[in-house]
Every structure is written in C-alpha cells, then in structure tokens.
Symmetry: C2
Subunit: 231 residues, 2 copies
C-alpha cells in the first residue's frame, strides 16, 4: 500500500499542533476506506470499535426510530472526526453514518484513541472542542424545534447547510452534495410535501433555486429574515 500524504492531516484541528514525524506515525496506523453515496460506514447499534476521519465527501448522521422513521441528527463535512462514540464512553454507535456523496475516510482502531489523547498534546482539547460545537448545534436545533414553525426551521437548516457545505457559484451558494426534500424534512421534523411547497414558494420569490437533489440559495439574506432571527 502506498503511503498516505502527510498534508492530509496537517491543517485539521485535531492534528494542527503536531510535527511531521507524529503525523507520519498517525497516518501509518490509519486504514483508508472509500464508500459510495448511500452506503454507510457503520450502522446504529454496531459495536464501536473504530473511529473515523472524513477526508472527502459528506456524511449524514441518521437516527432511526423504533417504528422506522428516520431523523438526520447532523452532517459531517470533510476534515471532521466522526464515529467517536467510544471516546465518549459508548459501547455502540448511537446512529448510522450514511454517505451523502462518494466519501473517503481514514479509520483507526479504538485503542488508538487513548494513545492519541495520551501521546499527542492538544489532541484531546481540540477534539473535545469539536464535541462542544456539536453539543451547541444540537442545542440550537432543540430550541428551534421547540419554538419555531416549519418555515423558519427549514430556513435555519438551509442556512446551516450553506455554512457547513456551501460552495460559491455564479448565481448564489449551492449545497455541494445531493440533498432531497425528504432529507430536508428528516432534518426539520416535517414532511417532504411541506418542504416541497416551501421551496416552490421561495423559488417563486427568487430566494432559492433548486433542481432534483440540489439546492442553491440565491438570496441568503432573505433566508435569514425568514429564519426568524430577531434583531
């Protein structure tokens, strides 16, 4: 197997403070894995024996309810660690990680987690900072779900997505991975029908442009107003 390039890691938060030889060691312990859109790195309930770093692509973290409904808990963008359940004391993965598009990741066996934390100064701090951010984001979502109506929630989700995975294009900012109305409804706790109606309306107002499995925001500012941001 050919060696992985060190530059993959040097600029990512968890590894930023490390020197070349340390990065080398970490990379040599890693296993690369590539999966297609729609496939999963692991399923909810699997014993958590690895943790991952997403190098390229986008992941949907999906929770299934006992009666078959699914909720998208969050998205992972490239450069982020995921599947770190074990580092937080969980024996099994709490959700399924589905590739939104073609994904490339590295993984390490769990034993490496403690080694990384112990050996590489700053790894723990940087990592838990990421956890803090996720906590924050989930908190925001709970507040949204509790206080806002569907239109505002959908607007919030779109704004969050263009922040996390937005790509500038001539006519606005597009979400650079495939995303269906169903997906958006799974993120906002509504139905694909309602999302479709909203996007149609917004398209008429010139706020967004959307094709099949693709959304582009042309007037982010308008969306901010709709999202119910007070001030």
């Amino acid at each position: 197997m050919k060696k992985l390039d060190e530059s993959l890691l040097t600029n990512l938060p968890p590894f930023r403070k490390l020197d070349r030889s340390q990065i080398r060691q970490i990379l040599d312990a890693a296993t690369p894995v590539r999966i297609n859109a729609g496939d999963a790195f692991f399923d909810q309930g699997d014993t958590a024996e690895k943790f991952f770093l997403l190098l390229d692509g986008h992941i949907r973290v999906v929770k299934m309810t006992p009666d078959g409904e699914q909720v998208i808990a969050l998205h992972i963008a490239s450069g982020q660690l995921f599947g770190i359940a074990a580092g937080l004391g969980k024996a099994t993965y709490p959700a399924t990680s589905v590739a939104a598009d073609e994904c490339l990741a590295l993984y390490w066996p769990n034993v490496m987690w403690d080694r990384f934390v112990a050996t590489y100064d700053g790894f723990a701090t940087e990592t838990y900072k990421v956890v803090g951010e996720r906590l924050d984001e989930m908190n925001k979502r709970i507040v949204e779900m509790a206080t806002q109506q569907v239109e505002q929630r959908v607007a919030c989700v779109l704004l969050r997505l263009i922040n996390q995975a937005g790509r500038k294009v001539p006519d606005g900012i597009e979400i650079d991975f495939p995303i269906t109305r169903q997906n958006i409804s799974d993120m906002t706790g509504t139905t694909l029908h309602t999302v479709s109606r909203l996007l149609s309306a917004w398209e008429k107002s010139g706020i967004v442009a959307s094709k099949r499995s693709k959304v582009t925001v042309t007037e982010p500012h308008q969306l901010v107003l709709l999202s119910g941001a007070t001030g």
Copy 2:
C-alpha cells in the same frame, strides 16, 4: 471556613478512582455556594470562568430565544458537574442554570479543569462519559421532537424526569422538585394549556396525580405505553 467532608465526592463518577489525599486537595480548592429556588448560578452569555458540581438540589438548564421564549434544555441532578462550557472550548456559558429548588454546589476556577484532567487519571474519561450521555439525551430529544406528537413527548419527559429525579412515595413516584405546567411545556415545545389538559386527562385515568408545582406518576407503565415506545 470549616472543611468540607470528603465523603461528598468519593462516590461521584468523576472522582471515584481518586484516593483520600487527592479528594482532600480537590475539596480544598473548591468554593461552596448556595442559592435559592429561582435564582441562577450563572446566566447564558456570562464568561465561563468557573465550573460547578451540584451537591444538593436540582437545576434547570434554560436557553432563551432572542424573542424571549425559553426552552429547558436539560436538568441537572445532584452529583453532576455542570457549567463545564470552558472544558469544551466555549468562552461563555451557552445557557442559564436556574435552581429548581434550593441548591448547594461547589465551584472551581477554570484553571483547575486542565489541572484535574492532567493530574487525576480517569477524571477526563469519566467526565467525557457524562458529556456523551448528555449528547445522547439531547439526540433522543431531537428525535422525539421531530417524530412524536405532543402527548407522547410529554409522556417521555415525565418518564425521563422520574428516572432522573424520581422519589418513591406510597402512591407512586413523584418528581422531587417543584415543576409547573409551564416548565413542562418549556421542555416539550408546547403550551402550558395543552400540558394542563393532558395532565387533567391522565389524572382522570389514574395515571398521574398532580398538585400545584408537583407531579406524581402513579402508573409509570401506562405512561410508557403513551410515550409511544414500540415493541
């Protein structure tokens, strides 16, 4: 100031693995603080310069929306750390911690966090296990809010509360801190009216008994059925 008793800490997860002299050191660095029901240890947005351990009482972690609505993110029971924002890389507290009843807590300045993590083996692990559990709980709530209707959500919240702060009494399990319909609605994203109606109905069915600011569950099993647990 008289010395704090070591037995306060010995059985709590973050300190379980430590010996007497270590516990002594930790206690000597702590400042005790007592507040009344309704008061707050800190407010959302305050610079996070301390972290706390709740010794007695119950805390509501409350988030305010820009337009004045409030959402109860979670409850803290005695024995738990809280206000650990700084340990997760946040500069300010993300929410307000309001005492549900009279509360007694210890606090340490932030600098002690890194010291604890570095000095006391297992402190970090145990602590992040707690964070993992909170992440999990919040995840569950997001799924609930996204998929279930009000009746099920309220049932879930009551079940969660009797698990976290239930006290066995002759006629069932009571939530052993004051809690209003408004509070319950702030947890479930509904209105106090709807909660009142639900509790009235459940009281008629003999599932719960409630007085002003007090709820007792007499038939937990019935509540589980209502909560929509499939199986």
